[in-house]
């Protein structure tokens, strides 16, 4: 494997970079310490030094999006850097939007359930201590309301997402 490495590097390097994610290059082997790069902004994760690929994490508990830790190659060209920064920005912006969206949804859903239960004269918890819920047909009013209220917000998001992908 080690003997093949120089040949492989010459042949595979450009392909590897293109297809395994931006900025990938076969880096020289080092001891298995964590790299000195800044940890991922989303979590404290640091990929191992040997790795020359991007790393993808578990879904964020608010946005459900999986954060990607982008690999920074040693001789990264300005264009590659621009692409990486753009991807990072898009990721953060997406993370913010969806985290906010999901939290708003959950909060407004709770408020809706509370107000409906109050209107019906019911408590938030049933006799057995379980959380009282409304059935799907009652919730349908909330879903319709939430969708129409957030329609413009989604339109802006979708327009910007198209622009980001185009850029």
């Amino acid at each position: 494997m080690a003997a093949l490495r120089p040949c492989r590097r010459a042949l595979v390097s450009p392909l590897c970079r293109a297809f395994s994610g931006p900025g990938c290059r076969l880096a020289p082997e080092r001891a298995g310490e964590r790299r000195d790069t800044a940890p991922s902004r989303v979590s404290g994760f640091c990929p191992p030094r040997k790795s020359c690929h991007d790393w993808i994490g578990p879904p964020d508990k608010h946005s459900n999006l999986r954060p990607v830790h982008f690999y920074v190659p040693e001789n990264e060209s300005p264009l590659e850097q621009k692409l990486r920064k753009l991807r990072q920005e898009t990721q953060e912006w997406n993370q913010q939007f969806w985290a906010n969206q999901n939290l708003t949804f959950c909060r407004e859903k709770e408020e809706f359930i509370r107000s409906r239960l109050k209107a019906k004269g019911l408590e938030l918890r049933t006799g057995s201590g379980q959380k009282a819920t409304l059935d799907a047909e009652e919730m349908a009013d909330f879903y319709r309301e939430f969708l129409s209220k957030n329609f413009q917000k989604h339109m802006c998001y979708n327009r910007k997402l198209c622009a980001q992908c185009g850029a």
């Binding site: 690929h53 859903k109 919730m139």
Partner: protein, 444 residues
Amino acid sequence: MAASPHTLSSRLLTGWVGGCVWYLEGRAMQESPREFMHLFRSVRKQWMTFQHFTFLRRMYVTQLNRSLNQQVKRKPEPTASPFLERSSLAQAKAETCAMRPLPPPHLPLSRKPNDKELLELESASVIEGSLDVGRETKDEKQWKEMKLHLDDLPGVLARLSKIKLTALVVSTTSAGFALAPGPFDLPCFLLTFVGTGLASCAANSINQFFEVPFDSNMNRTKNRPLVRGQISPLLAVSFATCCAVPGVALLTWGVNPLTGALGVFNIFLYTCCYTPLKKISIANTWVGAVVGAIPPVMGWTAATGSLDAGAFLLGGILYSWQFPHFNALSWGLREDYSRGGYCMMSVTHPALCRRVALRHCLALIGLSAAAPVLDVTTWTFPAISLPINLYISYLGFRFYVDADRKSSRKLFFCSLWHLPLFLLLMLTCKRPPGATCAGGEPRG
């Protein structure tokens, strides 16, 4: 291109996941009494304090719950997936909220700790420290390197191209080819089969590429390859291109230009019209129905080279079928659609959703009667297909009236077997060559 973005396979997958959750919970319950007894015996042997024992017990339960958490996705609110049992989710959630690790027992500062208590404190702090490290390591373990593994590639590409949906699309194309008049040309059939399959793979891959953040937020779609990072976006788009170009080329030059044009048009309709329209207007459902209607038309044009009445009839049948299928499915996904910003009838116009589903169930009866009139089948076909058409119409009516999850599920599952059976009956009643419906002069 797609008959519909939603298939039996996604339902099976979520059912399988739900089954896994049940199995793991059951195993945990069975194991805990045995391990608890073992713990109790070691406690008595080592003469630990009661406080330390309580701490260790809580630590054990916390670790057990953490392993359960790995299987049940933690969400800010309990949003029940349509196909996971509500009780298993509630039970898992209760366990995750109930337990928290406690700090080790503190000694009063005034008293100098003796050897035995020092040992207890040390072991408690080691356990607490290892808990923290355990938590971090576990978090880090969930990070995966985005490296291309050639072994996994076929599976990943199959999921990316929605291979089961593609198979359904290709089978409707084959039905269109088989129902077209004229002798059965095997080479032409194979070229149509492969070409349509490749075009469908391309369209499905592009659709997934566009929808990563949305797919991440819906239970049904959160395990797709691009969402999980199993394939890079660049590779996904390259794959789509490598399917679209040969697929369309095969259809255009191997079959005929009309079929090729329909293939290109359908890819465009699915990726550039249907996919963005999903977030803009409920009209997306009608566009999606056209997308599903085109493959059998392609099969017909591949066999005959022309867009005649029979092609439109088959297209009409698939078009009508989409509505009871999709509208019933979408009834159970309203929460995800609302949160994700998808404009679907089931959310915005529920009465219209059910009305349209019923309307198109009844349309299928009319279309099956039109088949012999257009010389596609004999008059046996509307007669023998009447029972299944009446049944789906009955379920459509029940859905319209009851408007609940039970009736929507029944209609959805009926649509899954109704279509293949309907097409099979059509094939068995195909008009024999040289016969006409009025028994007049045979067709040339």
